[in-house]
């Protein structure tokens, strides 16, 4: 008995690790672009974590002498209208983007998974009611609704993470739901039910591990979307309030007022944002290819150009 429990424990511990390691190996071997994306994401995380070590100045350290200073030896990327070092602000901005990306995506996945699993697994009336709400929610144009809610809850990092995470999680529930519906028809779910496993156990031990593929995809896609949405909100002035250096916020207000005098104030934060979101999306795209068999290329591939060649030779 003890042995089987041990074995079960071993299987439980081994399985997800093997899955992720396998995914990682395949990513590096088959998807060079995805690997580049992964490296960009790692760099973002490292810069975000080590921001106070890497940044030469504090994010709100004002040196009036170097106001609007162009890129130079001291301020490598230049300084803003208050003489704050842009490189430092971008490095601290990476930390904000990291918080928003990871926090928002985690919340998004949690919301999407819980709604999707309940809706897909129980079906029937529960499903209909939940799906009607999801439908209604999806009719609201995203940025408009984010703005509306941000106006209600007020600006701030935590607010942004919650609003973006929950609001993006609800449409994501669709994807999880369809995955759950496909999985619950499997024989092993029926077998689990036949031996009397309660719904909660089936959900946690049989359904949840099997929807990891869409969940990972939702997570990466959400991370990019979170970062860009936070930047958009901060750009419009409803995201993270100054002086906290958000990449989007740096492009608004003073960034726009001084953009003709000091174009570097607008250039660098946007470039950082573009590179990071590009990296995340590349990684997400590669993971989607690796995880979603429907998009992997299916049966054979189109050989049109190759078929044509012998024909022209005849």
């Amino acid at each position: 008995m003890a042995q089987t429990a041990e074995a079960a424990q071993a299987i439980k511990e081994e399985k997800p690790r093997a899955f992720l390691v396998d995914l990682f190996v395949r990513l590096v071997r088959e998807k060079p672009l995805g690997t580049v994306g992964g490296v960009i994401v790692l760099v973002l995380l490292l810069v975000g974590i080590l921001a106070n070590v890497l940044a030469p100045f504090g994010y709100n350290e004002i040196h009036l002498a170097s106001r609007l200073c162009p890129p130079s030896g001291i301020n490598i990327l230049g300084a803003d209208n208050l003489g704050r070092d842009l490189l430092s602000r971008i490095i601290y901005g990476a930390r904000i983007s990291m918080y928003v990306g990871l926090g928002g995506a985690a919340l998004d996945v949690t919301v999407a998974t819980s709604i999707g699993i309940i809706s897909g697994f129980f079906g029937g009336k529960t499903d209909t009611v939940i799906q009607r709400f999801v439908d209604a929610f999806m009719c609201l144009p995203p940025l408009f609704f984010f703005l509306t809610i941000m106006a209600v809850v007020g600006p701030g990092l935590v607010q942004v993470i919650f609003v973006l995470g929950i609001a993006s999680g609800i449409p994501g529930a669709r994807v999880v739901r369809s995955a759950v519906i496909a999985i619950k028809e499997n024989v092993y779910v029926e077998a689990a039910r036949a031996i009397g496993a309660p719904s909660g156990r089936i959900l946690l031990r049989h359904i949840l591990p099997n929807i990891m593929a869409p969940v990972i995809i939702i997570f990466t896609v959400a991370m990019g979307a979170m970062i860009i949405n936070e930047a958009s909100l901060s750009f419009l002035g409803f995201g993270i309030p100054p002086p906290t250096p958000s990449w989007g916020g740096m492009l608004s207000e003073s960034g726009r007022r001084y953009m003709l005098l000091a174009p570097w104030m607008a250039l660098w934060p946007g470039l950082a944002l573009a590179i990071v979101v590009y990296g995340i999306n590349m990684l997400g795209d590669a993971l989607r290819d690796l995880l979603d068999p429907r998009l992997r290329g299916g049966l054979g591939r189109y050989e049109g150009a190759k078929i044509k060649k012998p024909k022209t030779a005849v």
Partner: protein, 309 residues
């Protein structure tokens, strides 16, 4: 559709009306100084204008009944009917949206098709990288760069004042082109990906092999046989992008100073004009619902296999 719209009104109403008290106080304070009325009088006025002097369900019912008859209330600041405010802005957003959609399709379909017929070639990788790049570029950054660098390098910048179409059609179109291209680029990523996937799927089907064996040229097969079927699902994704398009317009309209619905919502949120905010959300949700319905109907028309009972 009607139940969905009903739920939308519920969502919008309750998200907007659960304003923390402090915000109302702020509004009262702001308005009291501006209007010169006493703060108590203003508080009463604001509460009445928001309909907050009756229980919540009565508020909702009143608002819903009025909305059903086309009355979404009056703006708290200008006093003009919300419907009038919104509909005066719609032509601008519509023009921007249509131009952006055209740009998106012009970019997405050729690259998507090319990417599929030369799968795994350099062109394919380039196309796919481009698609992801377009999704990743923050439109407010591109917009800012388009304003900043030409003006530094060539002393030229796009017009920041809205030109009426009937005053100067050419100037008006020219003004819309840059924002439309930026917005279109962001949208084209998804469409490009969908076009590629659908082309790949169609190109593997038997009737394409038949076409090859008949000795048809590649051009004929791609253009007349494959694309016709592959582009049907693209209609769906174009429909699905309408909310994204409307959302993206907020940013582009803001940057290029176009007086569209997006600017209206930013102004309204800035002024905390909740009547306008809820009005816009409901109107846009209805627009999206109608577009989705149209897309479904178009789909049935284009694809004879689909029938709605």
């Amino acid at each position: 559709m009607v139940p969905t719209l009903f739920l939308v009104t519920l969502l919008v109403f309750f998200s907007v009306r659960f304003i923390p008290g402090s915000v109302i106080d702020l509004m009262v304070a702001e308005m009291a100084t501006e209007s010169g009325l006493g703060s108590e009088l203003t508080a009463e006025y604001v509460k009445k204008a928001l309909g907050l002097d009756v229980p919540v369900y009565v508020q909702y019912w009143n608002w819903l009944v009025n909305a059903a008859t086309g009355d979404l209330g009056n703006s708290l600041w200008t006093g003009r009917p919300v419907t009038q405010e919104i509909f005066s802005r719609i032509p601008v957003s519509l023009e921007l949206g249509i131009l952006a959609m055209i740009t998106a399709l012009l970019i997405a379909i050729p690259i998507g098709v090319l990417s599929a017929i030369r799968q795994d070639s350099a062109a394919d990788y380039f196309g796919r990288t481009l698609a992801i790049l377009f999704i990743s570029l923050p439109s407010f950054w591109i917009g800012t760069m388009v304003i900043v660098y030409p003006s530094i390098w060539w002393n030229w910048s796009p017009s920041m004042e809205y030109i009426q179409f009937f005053d100067d059609p050419g100037g008006n179109l020219f003004q819309f082109i840059i924002p439309a291209v930026i917005l279109g680029m962001v949208l084209s990523g998804g469409t490009m990906r969908m076009t590629r996937t659908m082309m790949l799927e169609v190109l593997r089907q038997d009737y394409i092999r038949t076409a090859w064996s008949k000795g048809l040229g590649e051009r004929t097969i791609i253009m007349r046989h494959a694309m016709k079927n592959a582009l049907i699902p693209v209609v769906t994704i174009v429909g699905m992008q309408i909310p994204l398009l409307i959302g993206g317009a907020v940013i582009t309209e803001q940057i290029f100073c176009l007086p569209g619905v997006g600017r209206l919502v930013v102004e309204a949120v800035n002024k905390r004009d909740y009547v306008i905010i809820s009005g816009i959300n409901v109107v846009l949700a209805s627009v999206i619902l109608v577009v989705n319905l149209l897309v479904d109907l178009t789909y049935a028309y284009l694809d004879p296999r689909v029938h709605y009972k």
